[in-house]
């Protein structure tokens, strides 16, 4: 229920869609240009790392952006208070919102990834072949990773006041995103995605998601209500 409503709202928001499309295009272009400018890197060996980093950066960045619209705005407008009087729990709300943001951010990450791969293939004149580990990562693990990031941010937005949320966004999440972007941009081409890495990432995000779900269940409603703007 919550997920459906949040998806409808996000999909109905011109700013959310335009932002998703623009960033898919911007990040896709930057990464594809970077890849094409790397000397001595074959398309086959690097298209995997390109998709790995591009979709991750794009997904996480859009997740970060949409979280403000979905979690924080509801708290700023105090709408969440009405929702918390209904028969659903804070965890239901958290799960629904996290899934909705993840679905849209992941969709745009895929669009960006596909566009970028097409551009790279077109410019190099050959089609790169993706390894199984990359495909599994992009289709299965990436949404869980985005959900992890969005869920953690959403959890902090439930817990903290408006001023604290801005500080956390700037001090914790923005640098985290910058590091992710920088590492991806710097190591692209020399990085090979393996099954072990994907499995470790998958295990990590599952553990974090379980931890977050437990933590959200422990949040006192009073904490959410008393930190409304």
């Amino acid at each position: 229920m919550v997920m459906g409503k949040e998806l409808r709202e996000l999909a109905g928001s011109k700013s959310a869609i335009v932002m998703g499309a623009l960033f898919a295009l911007a990040f896709g272009s930057m990464y594809s240009l970077r890849l094409n400018s790397l000397p001595g890197i074959s398309l086959e060996s690097s298209i995997g790392s390109l998709l790995f980093f591009l979709t991750t950066v794009l997904g996480v960045f859009l997740g970060y952006t949409y979280t403000g619209q979905v979690f924080l705005r509801e708290k700023m407008d105090a709408v969440i208070e009405t929702l918390l009087c209904s028969p659903i729990t804070l965890r239901d709300i958290w799960i629904g919102k996290t899934l909705a943001i993840t679905a849209l951010a992941h969709a745009f990450a895929l669009v960006g990834g596909v566009l970028c791969a097409l551009v790279v293939s077109f410019r190099s004149g050959s089609v790169g072949v993706l390894g199984g580990a990359v495909i599994v990562y992009v289709i299965v693990v990436l949404p869980a990773l985005i959900a992890c990031f969005v869920g953690a941010l959403g959890c902090s937005q439930f817990l903290l006041g408006m001023k604290e949320n801005r500080i956390v966004s700037l001090v914790v999440f923005a640098p985290l995103f910058a590091i992710l972007y920088g590492v991806g941009y710097g190591t692209m081409g020399s990085f090979v995605v393996t099954w072990l890495q994907v499995a470790l990432l998958a295990a990590g995000v599952v553990v974090v998601l379980m931890g977050l779900s437990y933590a959200v269940g422990r949040i006192r409603i009073e904490r959410v209500v008393t930190t409304l703007s």
Binding site: M1, E9, G12, E81, T82, L83, P87, R220
Partner: protein, 308 residues
């Protein structure tokens, strides 16, 4: 049905709700009054389980209200800041809440309530384009959507035009009398409370200052008020000046050709009339003024403020 027992809420050492106890029966319309910062909204939040009491209990049908899903399913809520999803249409917003509450025959119910609220023509418009009054109406419709057994309303008429205010008042009375729905009404509108509430509690600084049936409150011995009509209505202002200097008068004010006088205890009406006649003002009529809830409220709140 709704029982509040020795409820206390403290924020950082400051007691906002101080040992409140009251009972609201089935089908009753209960008015909750108090000045800004008296603790009304905090009490409502405690009743809804949004805040945890420092001590004391809120029981709904004998069960703690806090985080009890089945209890919340039977409660309709309209808060001061009602949930508005600006990008959803009125219909979609109601459908969302309807699904959360598991409303049967949702489309029919939405249609009926939107008709009642006069919002049918705007059902597919985004809520963000609605006026404050329309949002308030939509909030009330949302609160009624799942046919609750108890309605907790925070300023339901705020921002509504007089016609809509009357509609809301009539609806509350109908819900209470015909459907036996209990209504807890948090309001600043004393006239509204006087028109529809059977019982009233007045809260100030977190404490209940008065809690009784409206009839009992209005007929309680307290400050007496009389209305004096001078033969020469042009002397009303002069009369007010004279009365304000009189030791037996607490307050005097001119009101469309008459003077409303609040007497101090032990001041006899006829003695005051004699004083006026000695002063040279003849009276055409003297009548006991009917006390309104506003008089009672101001008397109680004013008295406490003076004492505090």
């Amino acid at each position: 049905m709704l029982e509040v027992r020795n409820l206390v809420k403290t924020f950082k050492g400051r007691t906002v709700v101080n040992n409140l106890s009251f009972l609201v029966g089935e089908g009753e319309v209960f008015g909750f009054l108090g000045p800004n910062g008296a603790g009304k909204t905090t009490t409502m939040r405690l009743m809804l389980g949004l805040l945890r009491p420092t001590s004391g209990d809120v029981l709904l049908w004998g069960q703690p209200a806090e985080r009890h899903t089945e209890v919340r399913r039977r409660v309709g809520v309209l808060l001061e800041t009602d949930g508005v999803y600006p990008r959803l249409s009125a219909h979609d917003k109601l459908a969302y809440f309807g699904r959360i509450y598991g409303v049967q025959g949702l489309e029919t119910r939405i249609g009926q309530l939107l008709d009642f609220a006069g919002l049918s023509e705007r059902r597919h418009d985004k809520v963000g384009t609605f006026s404050r009054g329309m949002r308030r109406k939509l909030g009330l419709v949302r609160a009624l959507l799942h046919s609750p057994d108890i309605l907790l309303l925070d300023e339901p008429s705020a921002g509504l035009d007089p016609e809509s205010q009357k509609k809301v008042r009539d609806l509350i009375v109908t819900l209470s009398s015909q459907s036996q729905i209990t209504v807890f009404l948090n309001s600043h509108d004393l006239d509204e409370v006087q028109r529809i509430c059977g019982r009233v509690a007045i809260i100030q600084e977190g404490k209940i200052r008065a809690c009784d049936t409206l009839k009992a409150l209005l007929s309680a011995p307290g400050t007496r008020m009389v209305e004096l009509v001078p033969t020469d209505v042009s002397r009303c202002d002069e009369m007010v000046d004279f009365l304000r200097r009189h030791e037996g008068v607490a307050e005097a004010s001119s009101d469309a050709g008459s003077v409303l006088v609040t007497l101090r205890p032990r001041q006899k009406t006829m003695a005051l009339v004699s004083s006026l006649e000695e002063y040279g003002i003849e009276l055409e009529e003297v009548r006991r003024a009917k006390r309104s809830l506003e008089d009672i409220y101001l008397e109680i709140v004013g008295r406490e403020e003076r004492c505090g």
